[in-house]
Subunit: 391 residues, 2 copies
Amino acid sequence: MRINKNYLNLQDSYLFSKISRKVAEYKEKHPEKDIISLGIGDVTLPLCDAVVRAMQVAVAEMGTKEGFKGYGPEQGYGFLRQAIARYYEKRNIYLDPAEIFVSDGAKSDLGNILDIFSVDNTVLIPDPVYPVYVDSNIMAGRKILYMDANAENNFLPTPDESIKADIIYICSPNNPTGAVYNREQLRAWVDYALSCNAIILFDAAYEAFIQDDKLPRSIYEIEGAKKCAIEFCSLSKTAGFTGVRCGYTVVPMELVYENTVLNKLWLRRQTTKFNGVPYIVQRGAEAVFSEEGHAQIQQNIAYYKENAKIISETLKGMNIWFVGGENSPYIWLKCPTGMTSWVYFDYLLENANIIGTPGSGFGKNGEEFFRLTSFGERKNIIEAMNRLSKI
Amino acid sequence: MRINKNYLNLQDSYLFSKISRKVAEYKEKHPEKDIISLGIGDVTLPLCDAVVRAMQVAVAEMGTKEGFKGYGPEQGYGFLRQAIARYYEKRNIYLDPAEIFVSDGAKSDLGNILDIFSVDNTVLIPDPVYPVYVDSNIMAGRKILYMDANAENNFLPTPDESIKADIIYICSPNNPTGAVYNREQLRAWVDYALSCNAIILFDAAYEAFIQDDKLPRSIYEIEGAKKCAIEFCSLSKTAGFTGVRCGYTVVPMELVYENTVLNKLWLRRQTTKFNGVPYIVQRGAEAVFSEEGHAQIQQNIAYYKENAKIISETLKGMNIWFVGGENSPYIWLKCPTGMTSWVYFDYLLENANIIGTPGSGFGKNGEEFFRLTSFGERKNIIEAMNRLSKI
């Protein structure tokens, strides 16, 4: 039996284990220090009340003969897909529920969608980037091209007509940079994809953090996108579902390549290799889209946004260049005095007892940059910013 | 952008939609008839009390600051992997929790495990078979060989030394036939796999239905299996988790191919393309392995087994040849008077108002066979068997 040798081309995933190790070593030397983490990409606020109640009801149902649910449709229950379709409708995007696939999170679907594409495609990925986009394609053996995101383009690369790509990754609002594409820029990407018959994999995991009404929250706000883009959404950061696991992937019926309707391929893939998201979780997700649930998650999102604002204001006051923080939970700053990212990591840990994520962990263009996240507790954010402004 | 053209080699998945259509047509013509389904592969008894309570506690925790859980380890929480390791220990199989991966069900892991194997492997699959084994390999473009399961070998094919295979699927107790391999037969398969450096994908989804102590419930009861087998387990039928979604996959550290430890590959695959099973579900699964939960699920399993016994006794009384039913929730019978399976389907539907699953839906060797399942309600099973014995 032969293994998939592409796996041997993966880099050892050292970023977060290296961070853990350095923090553990520091803690051992300085057990009295109060270390604040602004590096976590995980939420800290609990599930909102509407979601908890909906799941309690669903758990109870599962214990009764009449209410018990066995296998559900692999693409998700109609009640949830319809709720998601109505959510899109509010922004004048009209989807058939059959174009919506409930997922156990964007991470799974972003990895598994690659099953339906030939390995013979060239993938275009930004640098810096969330590493799984890269790794999942290395596993398949695809050719990867990188597009430079940097201070010159405000970490929002635009299409390069001289490059022909087949699969294009766009994450907006971006992880790790927090940068957000505007309508014109996404228009350019859609035009580019249509012109070279490419497909855009649009990661909208952070769309709920956008506060500027002019910025698009879905790729489908751009005309023509239904012909060239799959959108991946997640309730992880929107509703605190990082440990509950639910998202949704939109595969419009108009997505046709080589005379093949992609929606049919994805349905076949999912009905073959997936058995759906738990009923209990889907009822929790449905509550997120209810009026009450929506209002409650907005409060949590506002809390994280206020954290981001506090971080942003502090950096502005220190004249530190950054993107993000305004329509995103991530802030991507230029390390002061030309420090490289791991040097800045050590500097912050030792001088302010703050942990962040070194930009080089996300690619070569992150070498002089650093990611801070706004998911922590308010008091820690305030304390951390106090310390930061003093060093 | 080019699609994965292997998808065009998939057969249209018509089996259950054809059954639905025929049943809908019959119901339209005969709305007054009481149709009983013995075709469903889904459980009907609700979740047991211990599981419901554990999930209620977990849902409540998720609504509190102190108890909220965000991202968990992709391979599953230690508390659950340890509970699973203790379950194996009871049968003298010693696993490191790091060899256990919590899944959202065997279907997902059976499909996704293929990511870590080269497409350049020959796959050996039984006929008849659960179609997803075949489809997931067609999607990858692998060469597939079939081994004949038939009345002559009691639907338990043994290794053919003249065939060299790389990936071997064994499902025992079997879906669709209910046949169960004994120790000697599994010993032969392990020896075969070791001799040609193949890997066995052992689907143990129905192990909890085995009542004969002499029959193995895990491939690891066979010495040497840790060097050549991955085991896929599921709580779907064991604990009624078809709509809750939880299972576990065992990848022993001793599984090494081309100098590569498969456990590391699977961990990398899952940490890249999966974000774990919901915390709430893992607490529910933990309850399955508790003393109380175990006792409660045994009651449910006993209920289904009694159903299987009623069906078996009826068939014996009618001199209809069958396998399964004794250590499995499935019964695989030879259609009487030489009817082919779809003809028998129509015959049963019209003359007894019973639905089953035609064997040809599982492969050419199912042409003259038929699957009945024991997951239905007791009163329906009894009524169905009354009707069957009269025609």
